[in-house]
Symmetry: C2
Subunit: 126 residues, 2 copies
């Protein structure tokens, strides 16, 4: 595996590339396998010119590779740059987890309080 430090410029380009639902949908489609550009474009209700602009944004971010075979342009997903953004994001995973931990702590305390009240009530009954 090639280890590399993602440059800030590349993180900018990749995050920007995935900030549009059409480009995320193209990535979702290509995750099922390489396909001809016209086939990928078909379900989208836009001109082929408009569609190709989105493809170029993905190509510049290194997320999509285009192979030219005569008249057929084939697109293929290059998922590696997505990992760089995921790695940046996962630095913050502890915050979601710590928030969840605090919430679990809160419910545990509520549960302890409820048990204490229950025991006191039972003691008073005896």
């Amino acid at each position: 595996m090639v280890h590399h430090l993602p440059s800030a410029t590349n993180l900018d380009a990749v995050a920007s590339a995935i900030s549009h639902r059409t480009r995320r949908a193209i990535i979702d489609r290509l995750a099922r396998g390489p396909a001809r550009i016209s086939d990928v474009a078909q379900p989208f209700s836009m001109s082929l010119t408009g569609f190709c602009k989105h493809v170029r944004v993905l190509e510049r971010a290194g997320l999509v590779r285009r192979t030219r075979r005569g008249r057929n342009n084939t697109l293929e997903l290059a998922p590696q740059p997505l990992r760089d953004v995921a790695q940046w994001l996962l630095k913050y995973e502890q915050f979601w987890n710590s928030r969840l931990d605090r919430l679990q702590q809160f419910f545990a305390q509520q549960n302890q309080k409820a048990q204490k009240i229950k025991r006191r009530d039972e003691d008073e009954l005896h």
Copy 2:
């Protein structure tokens, strides 16, 4: 924990918000704790007006909360929306892993071939 499906609009806004190194640096700073806007702005070599534009992009994406106390504006990180983008990205984790798996498989095969050649050489010697 509140479960919610992130809307496409919000994924657009969050991915776009993290597509600039200044905004990622603001998030990195606020991950260490809430801070006054002037203190957060201080290390950046830009006007406070320019800085505040970046803060507004983060606020609109729901990543930063601003509290006004008289003249002091305090900024606080709201990391939850980052998780939504991370979840979208982690759908593709299998591709990085499968690529790694294929690589490991390749090295295992190379190793097997080398062992086979070694055994054949040893057999020929005996």
